[in-house]
């Protein structure tokens, strides 16, 4: 099962993409897995809108949700920005970063998901692919 949406770069639109994920996955994915997947998606979208597209409301963010029932949930978020080097990010747990206001988004994404990979998007900006192995659906 696959669903796609493209949104303009405003924070309100994060809700739209999250809603699509919930509609696609709700009846197939365990509540716990879905909660953390949705949180990871929100972080990836916020990064794409803020750091990728620099809050330019005319630039779009492309979201693809792919669900292999009982096996794996894959979410891809692509922006039209200038690319991003995840290697430059510090550890938010280190003493010098602990009280910083920002710099935790990618760390959380990596914690919430099983696999995270960054690459260049065909749309010109960054592409982040998030994968979660699925547990059984709640009864």
């Amino acid at each position: 099962m696959e669903a796609k949406i493209s949104i303009f770069s405003t924070y309100e639109n994060i809700e739209l993409a999250e809603k699509m994920l919930l509609e696609v996955a709700r009846s197939h994915v365990n509540d716990e897995d879905l909660y953390w997947a949705a949180m990871a998606l929100r972080e990836a979208l916020a990064n794409a809108i803020k750091h990728g597209n620099k809050l330019n409301p005319e630039k779009r963010v492309f979201v693809t949700i792919h669900l292999e029932e009982g096996q794996e949930l894959t979410m891809v978020v692509e922006d039209e920005g200038e690319g991003f080097d995840p290697g430059k990010l510090g550890d938010p747990r280190s003493p010098e970063n602990l009280l910083k206001e920002s710099g935790r988004g990618v760390f959380y994404i990596r914690h919430f998901m099983d696999e995270v990979s960054f690459s260049r998007s065909a749309h010109g900006g960054s592409r982040v692919e998030l994968k979660k192995q699925l547990a059984r659906r709640n009864k």
């Binding site: 009280l99 920002s102 988004g105």
Partner: protein, 113 residues
């Protein structure tokens, strides 16, 4: 996010609910803390009992509020962490930064202890 406040024995209690997320909840949290400081309330207890989601921007705003209040000679503590919000604070070790309470009366008392 919805937020309201009460003053209990000189402590400003912020009752938050819903999502503390980028662009909405984080802004509202900052507004409530700035309003408390503007009215001379430097001891702030943030009640997270009905908060369902907090993202990295919301966490960043909590940290920013914590340091702002501390700079003003006050303190900001957390009350009633839901399990998922607790997990989120644990992962980034911020749980070691905040004083966290499960009981409001004890939390209020701690400001004068």
């Amino acid at each position: 996010m919805k937020g309201s406040f009460r003053d209990v024995q000189g402590v400003r209690v912020l009752d938050l609910s819903g999502k503390i997320t980028i662009g909405v909840g984080d802004v509202e949290l900052r507004r409530l803390v700035e309003e408390a400081l503007a009215s001379g309330k430097t001891n702030i207890l943030v009640n997270l009992k009905d908060v369902t989601h907090i993202d990295s921007s919301g966490i960043g705003e909590l940290v920013a509020c914590y340091t702002t209040v501390k700079r003003r000679g006050g303190s900001m503590k957390l009350l009633n962490l839901p399990p998922k919000i607790n997990d989120i604070l644990q992962v980034t070790q911020l749980i070691t930064v905040f004083d966290v309470f499960a009981n409001e009366a004890e939390a209020i008392q701690s400001f004068t202890a």
